[in-house]
Point group: C2
Chain length 229, copies 2
Amino acid sequence: MEEEKKYCYKYPHPSVTTDCVIFGFDGTKLKVLLIERGIDPYKGKWALPGGFLRMDECAEDGALRELREETGLETAFIKQFHTFTAPNRDPRERVITIAYYALVRLQDVQGGDDAARAEWFALDNVPALAFDHDHILRMATSELRRHIHFEPVGFELLPQQFTIKELQSLYEAILDVKFDRRNFYKKMQHLELLTQVNDSTTARRQPFLFEFNDKKYKELKHRGFRLEF
Amino acid sequence: MEEEKKYCYKYPHPSVTTDCVIFGFDGTKLKVLLIERGIDPYKGKWALPGGFLRMDECAEDGALRELREETGLETAFIKQFHTFTAPNRDPRERVITIAYYALVRLQDVQGGDDAARAEWFALDNVPALAFDHDHILRMATSELRRHIHFEPVGFELLPQQFTIKELQSLYEAILDVKFDRRNFYKKMQHLELLTQVNDSTTARRQPFLFEFNDKKYKELKHRGFRLEF
DNA sequence: TCAAAAGTGTTCGCTATACACCCATGG
DNA sequence: CCATGGGTGTATAGCGAACACTTTTGA
């Protein structure tokens, strides 16, 4: 039985999807959420969450919808970083995909609505992916790296309150570098983007907890301040 | 008479176009190439060059095709910077557009193939544009600005050989700042990305001519060097 | 009481910035 | 010969990298 094809155009149109690279941070490593495909092509392979763009939503809404379906999160930081258009990237038909990356707090993530199997993978331990998703993931990682050099997006991956040590681990995981603990601490203090919280965890010596001060950041940015890492 | 609509799909598909923000530099100001629309909607309005993506070409090839049609250039530096997807950005039907910016040397540009009227506008003197092209142009400008902070893309806008003064004017035009002439000169020397040419123009005192040394740049970049502006 | 982790100081070198200065050329 | 613009030098401040030190707390 032939499917009913009722949307007709004078010229051929590609399909348009959004794919979403969802990053999380477990305190040590940067992770990415992948879905096991239940249908062909690439059945059984891991892939990025994604789906077709609806005719009445913009791409950002589509990406947020995917995010919600897989993580239960109503909102998160997302950023469009590239659109992938190689003519044969999907074996079935011409599909272009508008790719976003999302930064979420791992502890906020519930299982998704979907029956599909979803799993977090450390970035240095990602299996071969379906379609051109390896390529998309690599570009997402490098764009995130570039992004964090100039904007304090890393805080989206941390809990509301965090220690400087956690923040440093995050930057080290994303940028793949090591910082001197003491210099990092002072740099953070000097930036004046963090607010110290009068509270403490329970470690050897209780480290101070901080919050990101978004208001202060916007103020500084407005004055031409440029973040550097 | 109803048009023949022979491309049919089970689900609705948007149209996909590429738009191209073509930047040039006249020695003083940054300019952008606009096309006067010959047909409705927005007939008579200025717009960015663009057109439908063919089913057998990737978006970059589409953008290069648009570039060639409007400037006669076979090749140039182009960069995809955003895809615009607001559902009602085109009044006729759902159209999403993959936007690129191109950096070209003004002196290399011929008139295009198209009969359409094309004109260079200084960035601070752009008329109201068709569709959401104002928005696209603003984003292109800010992305170019961001881009030039880290990569030496500015040379794509200058002739093969140029003086330091011309280079400084370019950076000042793009970043909208002023540099000290003498510090800029030394910074450029210090970067070692320029090769001095044993030739001279005929001014009061002949300034040295330089060329961008791409090989050297790639070498430095490979060693983890980061350009800063 | 000792080891481990958190917070604070100090030094050094590089680079951005703000200037002063000399040189060449054309009117 | 002097105004204009091109190339070079020099001093200062600020920041990042390297590393010593003190403090707190749990085992």
